[in-house]
């Protein structure tokens, strides 16, 4: 039996509300109706925002029609980074408070995070060709985003191997926390280093973006975020069902 680790004490209300969702049955009671709601509303809002971006948004003075790529590229970039932030927070919760669903939440965020990081890189490359005259440059923003995609792939492989081989779930959790160092590097890369990539157009409460682009972008971000949430819940339900099926099959095999 392992040594008992000291737990960090939390305010009673926070700890009890966090652990209220530790029960898989309670989690499923919430996740079952929420998953289709998030996915369907996400699909509807994303479709509306992209139709607006493709057919109704005006062309931009300097970038012309290619500015329409903004409505896919920027939300997927934010969610690519947001996905790893979610992994890091869930990993911290797992390592410190050993919340039973935290590892599932981290694994659930990995695949959609990786897909959105890949879409961000692909659409950025497609946008770069007419805007910069090149598909790719090894500058800080593009390289750190590519590193994020590799981190996702490494995390998915590591977490899968740990589940398959029966290792400790703390190993991918540590990887998730350490990998979070890349998130501020991506964010500040365009400020720290010379880059073809433009600096941020949106700050906290400030925007350098014209209203027709800003509102379309916010709608697309909302739609993609709802889809992200729905996919995370679907992945968590799939991982939980796999664990429950394996446990049941093992018990049945022992009874024979």
């Amino acid at each position: 039996m392992g040594a008992v680790r000291p737990r960090i004490s939390l305010p009673r209300s926070f700890a009890s509300s966090m652990h209220a969702f530790a029960n898989p049955a309670r989690f499923l009671r919430i996740a079952r109706p929420l998953t289709p709601v998030l996915l369907l509303s996400g699909l509807a809002i994303t479709a509306a925002a992209l139709v607006y971006g493709l057919f109704f948004a005006p062309a931009e003075r300097l970038q012309g029609e290619t500015v329409r790529i903004l409505f896919i590229h920027v939300p997927t970039a934010w969610l690519g980074m947001g996905g790893w932030t979610a992994i890091a927070i869930a990993s911290l919760v797992e390592l410190v408070w050993r919340h039973p669903l935290a590892a599932l939440a981290a694994r659930g965020a990995a695949v959609p995070g990786a897909v959105f990081a890949a879409v961000c890189l692909a659409t950025g490359s497609i946008w770069g060709r007419p805007a910069w005259g090149t598909w790719w440059v090894w500058d800080g923003r593009l390289t750190s985003m590519l590193v994020l995609l590799f981190l996702y792939i490494g995390y998915i492989a590591l977490a899968g191997a740990v589940q398959r081989e029966g290792g400790s779930s703390r190993i991918p959790a540590i990887f998730g926390l350490v990998g979070a160092v890349n998130i501020p590097i991506i964010h500040y890369s365009v400020i720290w280093w010379n880059s073809l990539h433009q600096p941020p157009s949106l700050g906290m409460g400030s925007s350098a973006m014209a209203a027709p682009f800003l509102w379309g972008l916010l709608a697309a971000t909302l739609g993609f975020s709802l889809l992200f949430g729905g996919v995370v819940l679907a992945r968590m339900r799939a991982l939980l069902a796999d664990i429950q099926a394996e446990a049941r099959l093992r018990r049945k095999a022992q009874e024979v």
Binding site: T35, G64, I72, V115, T123
Partner: protein, 46 residues
């Protein structure tokens, strides 16, 4: 000499990549979830 690039080609390519990958992600996640939950229910003997 300036290259003549049709901007719409790049826009459409980006939308095909983005929409295609997102739809594939949503459909695969839903299908994988349903398959895993059916397998669990079968293991429980339901």
């Amino acid at each position: 000499m300036r290259e003549a690039l049709d901007q719409w080609t790049f826009v459409i390519a980006a939308y095909v990549v983005g929409v295609g990958a997102t739809l594939a992600l949503v459909l695969w996640s839903w299908w994988a979830m349903r398959r895993a939950e059916r397998r669990r229910d079968k293991a429980r003997g339901k």
